[in-house]
Structures are given as structure tokens and as C-alpha cells.
Amino acid sequence: MADDEFDDNQASVTSVADRMAAEALIVDVDGFEGPLDLLLTLSRTQKVDLRKISVLQLAHQYLAFVEKAKQLRIELAADYLVMAAWLAFLKSRLLLPPDPTEEGPSGEELAAHLAFQLERLQAMREQAARLMARDQLGRDFFARGIPEDVMRVKRVTYTASLLDLMQGYARIRTKDEFRPYVMDRDAVFTLEQALERMRPLIGFAATWTDISTYLPEGFTSDPARIRSATASTFAASLELVKEGKAEIRQEDTFAPIQLRRKD
């Protein structure tokens, strides 16, 4: 019986044909479009109307399939394993007598929903095939071969596609997200400016000096400007240390950061 081919009991795989069919499924695991597709394929072995399918048996087949894939060391994608876990849960619900105190849907409800999903997928698949089997434009029937969109240009119109529109918007908005505040430039003291300012000054710093003393004029009162200048001055200090022109230290957490020339 085809139903048995995925039985836990390996001995029940009788004929060569059955075994080959089983292995074909395994080898073909890449060919499946997800766990639902695999379940649908497995359900065909039951050779019954999808409405009468035994979900319990199907769960059984699926779990056997996953087991076998493991034995053959085939890596299954995560969603296959999620489905396996869910089916194992469903199987236990279907097998055990219902616990009246337990909340949530019954095993039968869950099984019915799975059967519905399979039937729906199967139906869409059939419709897809019917759709593609229809007479098609450019293959079975044809449009005008010599359209007459002729002659003199009377008027110029401008056009754009939806894609242009969306990409245009995306272009603006991403730019926006990367450069948050263009108009606040005057409150910003850049790293370049800080470096330019500190390079000549560092030569005179023979003793440890608080880096806050390096803040430029005009950046010592407004909090936003202090923040910006402090950040860039600190970054510039690190740059100078990296270049081997200065040393930096901090006695304690939140203590002043000090800088001096390296000789």
C-alpha cells in the first residue's frame, strides 16, 4: 500500500517501486515549494478526495518524511521543521481524548483547517493550470500586426510610470534618512574643522590639558553647539593619537579627558 511507504517501520516498504517513489520524494526536497506543497504531494498517496483525507495519516507521513531526510542528512529549511513540530502537536491532540479543561481549538478543528488549506492550494493550482491552458494572446489569437499610430506629432505629452514615481519618492526619502538635518549645519562643528583647528595647537600642549579647552570660539555656550564641537574635538583627538602626534587619557569614568603632545 502506498500509504505505508513512510511508515516508521521500514520493513513495510515492500516493492522497489514504492521505495523509489519514497526516495524520489526525499531527493526532490528542493523541488517543493514549502511544507504545504509537500503535504499536498504526500496526500496524493492516500488516493482519496481531499475532503476525505486522513489528516492523522498525513501528519504521520510528513513526520516520517522529515525523519528520513534527517537520516539522509538532508538539511531541511526551518519552515519544514516548524510544520513538523506543529503536526506532531496536532497528532497528539488527535490521538489523545480531548481534555475538557484545555483551552483553544480542538484537534478536529485544527485538522479541518489543514484539510481546507490543502484543498484550497490544490484548487488554486488547478485553476492556475486551467488559466495557462487558455488561448493566449500572441500564441493562439493575435492583435493587430500593423497598428496605425501614425504620422504627424500634434502634441507633446509627458508621461511617467508608477515605478518612476515610487523610485523617485524612494530616492528622496532614503536620502532623507541618511542625512537627517541639513538645515542645522550652522550648529555643527565638523571633524574636519576640529582637526584643522587642533593640528597647529597640539604642538604647544606639553602638559595634560582638558580637551574641552580646545572647543572653538562660539561653540561654548549653546548646548547643541557644545555637543557637536565636543564630539568632533574628541574624534579629532583620537585621530591625532592614531597618527602618533598626541596622547590621551581619562582618570576615571566621566572624568575630564586630557590630551598632550607626544614627543
Binding site: 515549494e33 514549502g34 506543497d37 488554486m124 492556475a128
Partner: protein, 217 residues
């Protein structure tokens, strides 16, 4: 032409006789490879013409001929009879091969429209790859429909006139098997048991077009 003019004295330029209007529609349909709407035809025709009526006559005239007058959505086109496809090998255009995923996604959009990406994924049981929808959008077989009035207001997809034209459908209602699928409940979006029902947002009533409405017009 003159006999028609008598009873409509108000209008300075009367609409041409219907036979003439029929010729006009015929010429316009012949000249275009794309379907043309009644509105567009009337915009090009002399004032007072009734393109819909002219088209009805024209359609009858082409009955059984090598070329047919077909309705595509709310537009009209001329297409060769499909039993003569064998003569047109030279004209056959090699259409891009669609993947199985793309074909299924297309069918789901056609039968469940307007449908969200999440719903497509729910039906197929796998995530929809980016390329799949892109390809269908690029072929102009699907387009964005209106947003669903569910949390997150996801965008939806619907099929286009180009899709209808390609598959020789007058409207999405003419999709094969639509009625059977609906009566079998297979077009319902049924939440899994125990899941929270996704109720439409409040205060938006009347704006939501659900699938059945879409097919009714």
C-alpha cells in the same frame, strides 16, 4: 445621411448614422493593437455618437469571421479567432516563461483579488519571493489595488486589463470555475482556528471592497 437629421432639429451637427458609426469603431479598433475604451472612442468620434451601440452591431457583424470583436474589461479590441492560431506561427511571440511560483501567485491574485501579499503566502504556505511579484507587475498582469482596511493597511494586488486581454477574458468574473470555487468556500479567507479574527478597522466602513464586491460591479 439626411433622412436621420429631420427629427433632431436642435442639434446643429447631428451624429452620423449608426452604420457610419460602426465603420468608425471598426477603423479605430483595426488601427490599434491595444483595447480601446468606449469613452476614448466617443472622444474621437463626432459629437453625439453612441460607440457602445455601434460596437454591438460591429460585434455581430464579425461573428464567425477570422477576426472577432472582443470585450476586455471596459474596453474593446479586435483579435483573431483562436482556431486560426496555426496560421500565425510567424507572429507568435515567445512569452517569458513564468515560474511555477509566478503562475500560482497569478492565479491566486486573479481568483482572490484584491489580495495582500500575506494572504498569498497563507494560501501557498511559503513566502512570496520579491522577484515573483515584480515579474507580474512588470508584465503588467497585476497592479496595486486599494489598501485593505485591516491593521497595517497592507497594499493589495489585483489583475489588470492586460491580463484579461492576454487570456481572452471579458472580465475577472469570467475566470473559469469561479462560481464553483466560491460555492465550495475555497475563496474565503478563513483564519486558522484559535487565531484572533482580523477585524477591519473601525470608522472606515463602506470603503472596504471585498472580493465579491469586486466581481460584481
Amino acid at each position: 445621411m439626411s433622412d436621420e437629421t429631420e427629427n433632431k432639429e436642435e442639434s446643429l451637427f447631428d451624429a452620423p448614422p449608426i452604420a457610419e458609426q460602426e465603420r468608425m469603431c471598426e477603423a479605430m479598433l483595426f488601427a490599434s493593437a491595444e483595447p480601446i475604451t468606449v469613452r476614448e472612442m466617443e472622444a474621437r468620434m463626432p459629437h453625439g455618437c453612441d460607440a457602445a451601440e455601434a460596437l454591438a452591431h460591429l460585434r455581430k457583424r464579425y461573428d464567425g469571421r477570422g477576426v472577432h470583436v472582443v470585450k476586455v474589461g471596459d474596453a474593446w479590441a479586435l483579435r483573431t479567432a483562436s482556431d486560426l492560431g496555426f496560421l500565425m506561427q510567424k507572429e507568435t511571440v515567445e512569452t517569458r516563461k513564468l515560474s511555477r511560483a509566478a503562475i500560482e501567485t497569478l492565479a491566486i491574485i486573479a481568483y482572490h483579488q484584491p489580495v495582500t501579499r500575506a494572504e498569498i503566502e497563507e494560501i501557498r504556505g511559503v513566502s512570496v519571493s520579491r522577484g515573483t511579484v515584480d515579474q507580474l507587475l512588470e508584465m503588467e498582469w497585476v497592479r496595486f489595488g486599494r489598501r485593505k482596511m485591516t491593521p497595517g493597511r497592507p497594499v493589495t494586488f489585483v489583475v489588470t486589463q492586460t491580463f484579461l486581454d492576454h487570456f481572452g477574458l471579458e472580465s475577472a468574473r469570467d475566470l473559469p470555475g469561479l462560481k464553483e470555487l466560491r460555492s465550495a468556500g475555497l475563496l474565503e479567507s478563513r483564519p486558522p482556528p484559535g487565531a484572533m479574527p482580523q477585524s477591519p478597522e473601525e470608522g472606515e466602513e463602506g470603503e472596504d471592497t471585498d472580493q465579491s464586491e469586486m466581481f460584481e460591479e
